[in-house]
């Protein structure tokens, strides 16, 4: 078997797969990019050839238009194709619509780059499938044992309870526009919330795209179409996290600011965001899910890309795996001072 470190390299442009001459989620434009999912720190514009799931390509086109890439090549789940000397197969990662793990086989060695993933129920995308491999490349966004995301239904129930308690206040939910927003909308529908959901203008195009791709999200309206903002009392309004404390939100009737993010587990983080109603809802694996996944794929070797990689490495080694932290640049490793990461999917 050809050792993984002999054909995969960490470079300033990202993870380089030498026998296939391509990069996984490159941070700078390259000739051939293999993309795990549509979030902006993984799918960047201006690559030559872009391989990704059809949904991810649709998201990239919606975001980057003509700059999405010169040649876009859709890859379906479970279909193997050769890139150079590497056999590449996509599997669902359960992170957002179209998110994929990438199995790469070369010289008898199987490597899975999982991108970002979670193991929870998400009605807007396909669930994570454990893929047996020799090297499992994992994220570690919530790679500390304090990150235990409570049952998502409980968090949605918190929001619904607050809507009952404060019918005179709009409930402004900060959620990333790709993935989290649609998931929260869908979860609200499943919990029986039938009123229109009101959207900040920046959320509209991806909500539409999700619907076009077959995810029904129920009735919604743009906030800008509502003439008398008092109508928003007791309603759910969704906006990107950056708009939560923006002037935009001042027009709403005495809003309860809710924030849907895994970071809400830590009280001080929630306070920094000014969240009155922190909703611990994440599209990333929490600590128990990370550990469970490492056991599920049972790869003898675990490589950790971004997040709190040292802690996960420590825990993986304690479980008897070989573990290594890849010093990949360009992925948000922490919630920056101005909450940059909260604008990405967390």
């Amino acid at each position: 078997m050809k050792k993984a470190e002999n054909w995969v390299q960490v470079t300033p442009k990202g993870l380089y797969i030498e026998p296939g001459d391509f990069y996984v989620d490159p941070v700078r434009p390259v000739d051939k990019a293999v993309i795990t999912h549509g979030h902006a720190d993984h799918a960047r514009p201006n690559n030559q050839a872009v391989l990704a799931s059809p949904e991810t390509l649709a998201i990239m086109k919606a975001r980057y238009g003509a700059n999405a890439g010169a040649v876009l090549e859709p890859i379906s789940y479970g279909v193997t194709q050769r890139i150079g000397d590497v056999a590449v197969t996509y599997f669902p990662a359960g992170h957002v619509l179209g998110s994929s793990q990438i199995l790469m086989e070369h010289g008898g060695c199987r490597i899975v780059a999982s991108g970002d993933y979670k193991r929870r129920f998400d009605p807007t995308c396909r669930s994570f499938e454990p893929v047996p491999c020799d090297v499992f490349i994992t994220e570690a966004t919530f790679g500390l044992p304090v990150f235990y995301h409570p049952p998502t239904d409980d968090e949605i129930a918190k929001l619904l309870a607050s809507l009952k308690t404060f019918p005179e206040r709009a409930h402004l939910v900060g959620a990333y526009s790709l993935g989290k927003a649609q998931r929260v909308m869908k979860l609200l529908r499943l919990a029986g919330w039938e009123n229109p959901i009101y959207l900040h203008g920046a959320m509209v195009s991806l909500v539409r795209l999700y619907e076009e791709l077959g995810v029904a999200l129920g009735p919604w309206r743009r906030v800008s179409e509502v003439k008398d903002k008092k109508e928003l009392a007791g309603q759910v309004v969704m906006c990107p996290p950056s708009a939560l404390d923006d002037r935009w939100s001042r027009r709403l009737p005495d809003p309860v600011t809710a924030m849907a993010s895994g970071w809400m587990r830590i009280r001080q983080r929630a306070r920094q965001r000014g969240a009155e109603l922190p909703l611990i809802i994440s599209d990333h694996a929490d600590w128990p899910e990370l550990l469970q996944t490492i056991d599920d794929v049972a790869a003898p070797e675990v490589w950790i890309t971004h997040g709190r990689e040292e802690a996960l490495k420590h825990a993986a080694i304690a479980k008897g795996y070989k573990a290594r932290a890849l010093a990949l640049v360009g992925f948000e490793e922490d919630e920056g001072a101005n909450g940059v990461l909260l604008n990405e999917a967390v």
Binding site: L144, P145, R265, Q268, R271, G274, E276, E310, A337
Partner: protein, 533 residues
């Protein structure tokens, strides 16, 4: 615990003061005695639970978790109670309700030291993470959830319709859980007696004097005295009961028995506790603050300590002469009474803080700028007609601190803050240049600061630090030696605790010198010249 945990959680997340008041008032309304009394004691910092030290909680958690992951988690979360609340591995199948706050207080009070860990373990097992958080905050005596004692008492006043000052004073006379206080507030009983001896009377505090104030204030209405650099105390003595209170009402007499023994009279006095020493001519002078620090935070004190660092009080004010309450008199009259009392009683280990004559703000400002002696922090300005009012009313009293000294230092290390700043690199260690054995200049750390900058500057500093990391030592980042910080501080003393041999008093960031090259920052020679021996 269920109601209390909900209260704590909602208080943490409710930003507005009014919202917080409403939450506390609603809690008071729906909670019986003695539970609410214990909770209010906790919110006001008057709950003293000695047996549950944070170190014990940490130890118990370390026995149940991976110590390395615990450390990283604690570093990340920045709060011990929250870290333990989230990490505590609750066994399945616990068929116990979470304890009430009263259960906690009574349980810990009646427990032997060896029984405490088992007690706490049982409680933690019975709680959800949110309840564990509230429980741990409570039993480690550090709620620190952005609620001041004043705010909690304001909620009591709003809820009961009684006067805030009455509540404030009774608070220090009565003991938790304040059952007679609640009875009075609910109109079920008479007002409790607050004239009891040797109780704490809330202190009157001053606002800092701003430049705008000087323009509008009439100098002739104000009296001036030095602001002494010790710790503000209240001496209360009557019928042989002698107590020394800090400005927050903590009793500190145990650390200053020499001073406490001198209270052989019936009176309540306001003054500054100082450590004195003899100068070359044998006269008494104020010792550096460092000397006083040797004696702080001790429950008891060795005889040698008391002899080497003798305590004195410099008197500012007389609140009670015998049983006569003078607080309703104007300052000028109280001062006359104080001088008369001092001449009559001739107390040991005390002197009067002298009044400073001045005719204009300008001449007073000059005096302030020239004062460089040990022990003077600046000036106090008090209106001649001001009554002694608890709290910090705006107008009657001002403090006018001496301008700080400054040095240009270079940032060397940064660490994330705690609490509200737990995602920001907000604690900075900075250094000054000194030649090493080969004569090459190297930076030696001279201090650490975590205040003085605006929120906006904090964001800039945080970004700069993240982009200039040279090395990581656990939570500490070493940054490249490029950024000059203008550091302000009140004094610099010799210290053998630091590599540089100096320690700054109250250092803070005055300006960020983005423009200044690090090579032009100050040297240790500059630092040494500012030391007051």
């Amino acid at each position: 615990m269920i109601r209390f945990a909900r209260l704590i959680d909602s208080l943490v997340f409710t930003p507005s003061r009014n919202g917080k008041l409403r939450l506390i008032e609603a809690y008071l309304e729906g909670t019986p005695d003695p539970e609410r009394g214990w909770v209010m004691a906790a919110l006001t910092g008057s709950l003293d639970i000695r047996s549950a030290k944070p170190a014990l909680i940490k130890q118990m958690t370390l026995e149940r978790t991976d110590p390395i992951l615990f450390d990283w988690s604690y570093d990340y979360v920045g709060d011990l109670a929250e870290t333990v609340a989230l990490l505590w591995p609750s066994p399945r199948g616990i068929n116990e309700p979470p304890p009430s706050v009263t259960d906690l207080v009574m349980g810990l009070d009646g427990a032997k030291k060896t029984e405490v860990p088992a007690l706490i373990e049982g409680w933690l097992n019975a709680c959800s993470p949110d309840q564990r958080y509230a429980l741990l905050k409570l039993i480690t005596g550090s709620l620190r959830i952005g609620i001041s004692a004043r705010l909690a008492k304001t909620a009591l006043a709003n809820w009961s319709g009684k006067g805030l000052d009455d509540i404030e004073e009774l608070w220090h006379v009565l003991e938790p859980p304040y059952v007679p206080l609640f009875a009075w507030m609910e109109g079920r009983a008479e007002k409790p007696d607050s004239t009891a001896c040797a109780t704490f009377r809330p202190l009157m505090l001053a606002h800092p004097l701003e430049d705008e104030d000087i323009r509008v204030l009439d100098a002739t209405e104000y009296r001036a005295e030095w602001k002494w650099d010790g710790i503000r105390v209240q001496l209360t003595a009557c019928h042989g009961s002698r107590r020394i209170f800090s400005r927050t009402g903590d009793e500190i007499g145990g650390a200053f028995p020499d001073m406490r023994d001198a209270l052989d009279f019936d009176a309540v006095l306001d003054g500054e506790l100082l450590v004195m020493r003899h100068d070359d001519s044998g006269a008494l002078e104020v010792a550096p603050f460092n000397d006083l620090q040797q004696r702080l935070n001790r429950k008891t004190v060795a005889a040698k300590m008391a002899k080497d660092y003798p305590a004195y009080v410099r008197l500012y004010d007389l609140l009670f002469d015998g049983s006569e309450d003078l607080r309703g008199l104007p300052f000028d009259e109280r001062r006359k009474r104080l001088e008369g009392w001092y001449a009559r009683v001739q107390p040991q280990r005390m002197d009067l803080s002298p009044m400073i004559a001045f005719d204009s703000w300008q001449s007073l400002g000059q005096l302030r700028d020239e004062a460089r002696a040990n022990g003077i922090e600046g000036l106090m300005l008090k209106r001649g007609d001001s009554h002694y009012v608890p709290g910090r009313p705006k107008g009657p009293w001002f403090k006018w601190k001496r301008d700080a000294m400054t040095l240009d230092c270079v940032m060397m290390y940064a660490q994330r803050g705690h609490g509200k700043r737990s995602s920001y690199y907000s604690d900075y260690t900075f250094g000054a240049w000194r030649p090493d054995t080969d004569g090459v200049l190297e930076l030696v750390p001279v201090g650490k600061a975590y205040s003085g900058f605006t929120d906006e500057e904090l964001v800039q500093l945080d970004k700069w630090i993240r982009n200039h990391v040279v090395e990581r030592f656990g939570p500490v980042l070493q940054v490249s030696q490029e950024l000059v910080l203008e550091v302000a501080f009140d004094a610099v003393n010799r210290s053998n605790r630091h590599k540089s041999g100096v320690a700054m008093r109250f250092p803070r960031i005055k300006r960020i010198r983005w423009d200044k090259p690090a090579s032009e920052a100050d040297t240790m020679d500059h630092v040494e010249r500012l030391i007051v021996e």
